[in-house]
Symmetry: C2
Subunit: 393 residues, 2 copies
């Protein structure tokens, strides 16, 4: 049993914690605040609160507000240029995973030469080493889905190449400071609450079945699975329930710890292919639509792992025959999907075509092939196509 544990982020968690931004020692004097191109950060007053707290903390800022739901390389390059031009010395990501991941990638590109894709491993990336300083990052989350506030990962899409690839090999892309204030999540609508909650759920689940799971990643993951199973239906039904929001936010942060200590598996490669081809497909929805087929395939290939997860979701292994025990997890997963109103999602409704399957499978291997090596069983290309086909409705 050998493992590395390194999660250097200082993390403030809980209702009201945003106020810490006004007094905490920040890692720079001038921030580039990275937010989405949508209106929610201004409409709900989050940007105004953040800028007021920065002023209170004698910190200057510049706002960059172009980030798309599936964030793209081009905006990373633009944001880095603005940070350089305006002399920003740290980057704040305010919003969901897209804004925070963009903040991380911008932080890399402010002082490193060339194109962001030069540093990407996989796809058409050159895999160059990041040699220059990465600016410190502050993450302020307004959704509970990616766990990016608690891990070094950033997922960006190359807008011209159908490549959506994660990057997180540097300790510097851990946020120096993260603030997770569930009060900022009360405004997330039900469908996104469900998609994002399931994204966090699958980070934990994949982290349990990954062949690099450790006893420490397991405790983070099983707690996250338990909390999401308990609280996600309430958070979806009544978005104003602060207790449910807080527990889902905690689960999401724990899933970030899982990302930092174990890994996603090929389910994420397969979903990234879907959302690289169909950028309007929400990542969490893609995972949900793949999940029954994907986890049914793996259940009897890592039975003890699946039984642990079924137990974390309240299932009693002794209630069924030995062969059926790992499949209790799939049963619990489908029940949770139903309770959250996402059991009827169909890939065809998002424009996915059955004839895409071969290209999707190729893309999954080409861009995020490394994750297939972390699966508990090594999938062949045809098995990946089979999982896509079974998931297709």
């Amino acid at each position: 049993m050998n493992l590395t544990h390194h999660i250097p982020t200082k993390l403030y968690f809980g209702p009201g914690e945003l106020k810490k931004l006004g007094s905490e020692r920040l890692p720079g004097k001038k921030a580039l605040i990275v937010i989405s191109a949508g209106t929610s950060m201004t409409r709900f007053g989050y940007l105004e609160r953040v800028t007021a707290l920065l002023q209170q903390n004698q910190t200057e800022f510049v706002v960059f507000d172009k980030i798309l739901p599936n964030p793209v390389r081009q905006h990373v390059m633009e944001g880095a240029q603005i940070a350089r031009d305006t002399g920003c010395d740290f980057i704040i990501g305010l919003g969901g995973g897209s804004s925070i991941d963009s903040a991380k990638s911008i932080a890399i590109m402010v002082h490193n030469p060339g194109d962001y894709w030069d540093y990407i491993h996989g796809g058409s990336g050159f895999g160059l080493e990041v040699k220059e300083k990465v600016l410190p990052i502050v993450a302020i989350t307004t959704t509970a889905g990616t766990g990016t506030e608690a891990d070094p990962w950033t997922v960006i899409t190359h807008e011209k190449r159908n490549e959506k690839i994660g990057f997180g090999l540097l300790p510097q892309t851990f946020p120096a400071l993260s603030i997770v204030d569930p009060e900022l999540m009360l405004s997330v609508p039900p469908d996104l609450t469900a998609y994002q909650g399931f994204d966090a759920f699958f980070h934990a689940v994949e982290g349990v079945i990954a062949n690099i799971a450790t006893p420490i990643s397991d405790i983070y993951a099983l707690k996250s699975i338990n909390l999401i199973n308990t609280y996600l239906p309430t958070a979806v039904k009544d978005g104003s329930d602060l207790e449910a929001r807080t527990n889902i936010a905690l689960a999401n942060t724990l899933s970030g710890f899982v990302e930092s200590t174990s890994s996603c598996t090929s389910e994420h490669s397969m979903e990234h292919a879907l959302s690289a081809f169909y950028p309007k497909l929400p990542h969490g929805a893609g995972l949900i639509m793949l999940s029954e087929a994907y986890f049914s395939f793996f259940a009897d290939k890592a039975p003890e792992r699946f039984i642990l997860m079924a137990q974390a979701m309240g299932k009693d292994p002794a209630s069924v025959s030995k062969a059926k025990r790992p499949f209790l997890f799939v049963e619990a997963l489908l029940e949770l999907q139903k309770k959250c109103g996402v059991d009827t999602l169909k890939l065809s409704d998002f424009g996915v075509k059955k004839e895409d399957i071969s290209s999707l499978s190729r893309n999954a291997f080409d861009t995020m092939g490394a994750l297939f090596n972390l699966d508990p069983y090594t999938l062949s290309r045809s098995e990946v196509e089979e999982i896509y086909a079974r998931a297709y409705k």
Copy 2:
């Protein structure tokens, strides 16, 4: 539910991990290696292996080998002087908690003026602010007891004042790098294995009952309790069992995480008083001798907490009446003590006298009074004396 999570240490864990010292980027060019005054670091070849790996890593070093089992202020000051005189820019603690804690305190005193006790909160300390640079710390553990490799705490005794006080308010006293290699623990004799294992156990247990426990500290603590209950008897009986050693080492590191996210309670204040008065009394043994009386007193004052811990130790709450459920933890604790051969320890055998109780109680409040505020129930002075009296044999 509000919490802060900040454990910046990079931690390599597992059999054989010591070799990372030869290739990892270290936080300085010249190390003061802090080891005990005993012979074990040379006898078992650990010091030689460490210095060879440092040489391989182009790093200079100076050895300081004076640390006592209950480490003292005077050696902190001496070590800091040597580090200054020889131009060391980081400190390696190699050994048990005493050496690593001394390394932390030395790291503070190399560039901060005055006496170490000037910075101590509690007792006769002045509680001054640490304003100058704290040197980076590398922890290499050869025992599993204090968890200091995974927390910011250092416990030092003032050799002239009967004061044994913990200090850990600075993020800089988290080791920058910790290496936990259970192969270095195979040489620990049975009695110390038990004492140290129980120290880690009580860090977890106190962290569960502390009134600042959080869902994250709970997952670290309950896993630690479970591992110690499962593996400590084997590690004590057969010190060469690497699987048992590895699991106890992991439990110990998790208990360090508990120290970083929750807190000890007054059991530690009460034990520090004992070992301040009787420096030859091993800290873990002191805790063991207090534990039955201490936890019996608290069991029905935080029943849900005690039931969680009993479950982590394999007890079934449904097997007894509701009133008895929290006491299942005390039952499991006594069973574990018996399995580890430490159920017959007596305070009187270590020289403690019944008439000390009043002074011990005063010392516990005077030096580590803050922990009493973190108990699930506020003890009076006479209740503390009552617990000492019940523990006295």
